[in-house]
Amino acid sequence: MSGLDLLVAATLSAGTPLAIAGLGLLVNERVGVVNLGAEGIMLVAAVSGFATAVATHSEWLAFGAGALAGGLLSLVLGWLVIWLNTNQYATGLAVSIFGTGLSAFAGIPFVGRRLTTGGHHGIPWLRDLPFVGPALFRQHPMVYLTIALAALLGFALHRTRLGLVVRAVGESPASAHALGYPVRRIRLAAVVAGGALCGVAGAYLSVVYTPLWVEGMVSGRGWIALALTVFATWRPARILLGAYLFGGVTMLQLHLQASGVQVPPQFMAMLPYLSTVGVLVLISRNPLWIRLNMPASLGKPFTPGA
């Protein structure tokens, strides 16, 4: 198929924001906190990142601002669910509503403004190779960083002491507490770190992927990222897989439309969702896969000494 190289490139690019947010939410969920505020957090980060990019012309400062905004909003969420033991699902949704409104309001001066960041990216030498050059090596650096981050997270979670502690907190907060770990602080740190990653994803969307700010521009990507953590059975590498699957099918259906395939567009648009479900069904057929990875304390509060 002609244009396969471009399709691969578009897939990598489309999957990246989902992957970053998915990795962040994975960090949250690994310590037992479900963050349904992802959509609102990404929006607040998107406008923060965009505003920073407008002012400083720096993508990297924009990612930093996004991370900061995402981290701060997650701090609120974390404090409520970890210290006040509020219900995680409801609190997350409330944060989402709040963040959506806040970003819409704060973003008013930035609608229709132009970013002067950007330009051509890629890895020298490699980008000029036939096929693999355009397919793999002409991406924004964040695309490669995301892959590295997934590898790093996978390593950290399963091969380091820190990872062991994080997993212990998610699996059995009571035992972790008994061993003397400050369970709630570890949870809060993970929630903030995960929120910061969601923030980077939001800033990436508004600064690099779709360089514009307009109210509600994340358009449900936060929800997809949440679904990805489940899809990935809480493993970082599989987050990448899921994000590229979703992004790839999205791009494929658009490419098929552009090449004249005659299927109602609504059915084409269903494909990314259906294929995600389909693949989940395939990988879930062995329940052990999921059971072994789902953090046992997911969604549950922990009070030391209770």
């Binding site: 244009g3 471009l6 399709l7 578009a10 690019s13 489309a14 924001p17 607040v44 406008v47 923060s48 505003a51 920073t52 407008v54 002012a55 400083t56 601002a65 900061l68 905004a69 995402g70 701060l72 609120v76 709040f98 806040l102 819409a104 309001f105 704060a106 973003g107 008013i108 001066p109 930035f110 609608v111 229709g112 132009r114 950007g118 992927y209 779709t210 360089p211 514009l212 307009v214 109210e215 509600g216 521009m217 358009s219 449900g220 990507r221 999205t250 791009m251 658009l254 490419h255 439309q257 552009a258 090449s259 004249g260 395939v261 005659q262 299927v263 109602p264 567009p265 609504q266 648009a269």
Partner: protein, 380 residues
């Protein structure tokens, strides 16, 4: 917008900390200022109260933004004789009826429902309030106190096509569509016909995103068109994402609904912009003068409601001249976009030679003209 961008950026970076919104004291835009403080209307001498309901936020830089801009400009031109109120982000469903009734209860005597999906609600509320005049954008139902207005957007798409046909190198144009309704199909066809009027080799590829607003998805659709060789894009969706995707790829595109030249100076060939202010002034005057009557108004380039604005200065003078000529033709009434012979992309003649399409024909467009690839989804 009283804050400088950099100052605002610093604030925005601390958004989450600023939840108490104390930072946001003066940054509400003019559009968000209240217009509702007017006292209850008295018999004479009081200004006319007019209400607007919008489907999107006034800051969407697209459809709702254009209506709101028209509202503000029209109100300013009326010099105090009209006071307007608006409600934004009204969902197109049962909620609209409640909002409309509330606007009536607030004493508005003229109410604009600015999206197609408000049709059912505005019909019901109009029936119950014969003393209030209602105007519905892009609908088709009229009553004694309900009339409809729309813009001949396809004339803008046609002008864009003329430019696109001359700027393309690949002779392949791309169109990012929302949903296959007649209005959008007309735009695809007009864009293609305009391009073919200057370049017969043109073909157009269409991708549907099944949404009016989803910027990342619009980006992806634009990318898929660019990947398949299209080098000038137009869209019927509500954000500037397509334009920015073209800018990044070094290709061309157009703004839609409003002037989007600022976001992509290298890619922007022009913006198919709507200007509703003229119609709103007319409507206000109709009510004030007692000459308001139910009718169907379709304004285009001639009336100044639609135009291709901010045509790129980097486009060759020759190309711009052809756009100007077509614009003059539309203004003078010597040019009509849909004039036969028009052949659909299966080779069937859909409009005979020399015939100018009437409203019924335009309202029933359910095909692609020759040169557009593919088939209209769910079309016959």
């Amino acid at each position: 917008m009283n804050l400088s961008p950099s100052k605002h950026a610093a604030l925005a970076a601390l958004l989450a900390a600023a939840t108490l919104a104390g930072c946001s004291k003066k940054e509400a835009p003019p559009a968000a200022e209240p217009h509702a403080a007017a006292p209850a209307p008295a018999k004479t001498g009081e200004p006319l109260k007019a209400g607007f309901i919008y489907v999107g936020p006034v800051g969407d830089a697209g459809w709702t933004f254009a209506h709101d801009k028209g509202r503000r400009e029209a109100e300013a031109k009326m010099g105090g004789k009209v006071v307007t109120t608006f409600v934004e982000k009204v969902p197109e469903g049962p909620d609209a009826e409640r909002v409309l009734r509330d606007l009536v209860a607030q004493g508005n005597k003229l109410i604009f429902a600015t999206s197609f999906g408000f049709m059912d609600a505005v019909t019901k509320v109009a029936k119950d309030n014969p003393d209030v005049k209602f105007e519905h954008a892009t609908g088709y139902r009229t009553a004694d106190n309900l009339r409809v207005y729309e813009a001949k957007f396809y004339e803008g798409a046609y002008l864009a096509g003329i430019l696109a046909g001359q700027m393309t190198k690949s002779n392949v144009l791309g169109f990012v569509g929302s949903f296959p309704i007649p209005e959008v199909l007309r735009n695809i066809n007009a864009f293609t016909l305009g391009a073919q009027s200057v370049n017969p080799k043109i073909t157009t590829k269409v991708v549907w995103v099944s949404a009016w607003f989803d910027p990342p998805r619009e980006t992806e659709a634009a990318q898929s068109l660019l990947d398949q060789g299209a080098d000038v894009l137009l869209q019927n969706t509500d954000s500037s994402a397509v334009l920015q995707a073209a800018e990044r790829a070094g290709k061309y595109a157009f703004g839609w609904d409003s002037d989007m030249s600022a976001v992509a100076p290298k890619a922007h060939l022009g913006s198919c912009a709507l200007d509703w202010s003229g119609y709103y002034v007319k409507s206000f005057n109709d009510v004030l003068n007692g000459t308001w009557k139910p009718e169907v108004t379709k304004w285009g380039v001639k009336e100044g409601a639609v135009d291709l604005v901010k045509v790129a200065s980097f486009a060759p003078a020759e190309a711009r001249k052809k756009v100007d000529a077509a614009r003059q033709g539309l203004k003078a009434g010597t040019l009509a976009v849909f004039t036969g012979p028009i052949v659909d992309n299966t080779g069937k003649e859909v409009l005979a030679k020399g015939v100018v399409a009437d409203d019924a024909w335009k309202g029933a467009v359910n095909f692609y003209v020759k040169g557009v690839e593919g088939k209209v989804p769910a079309g016959k």
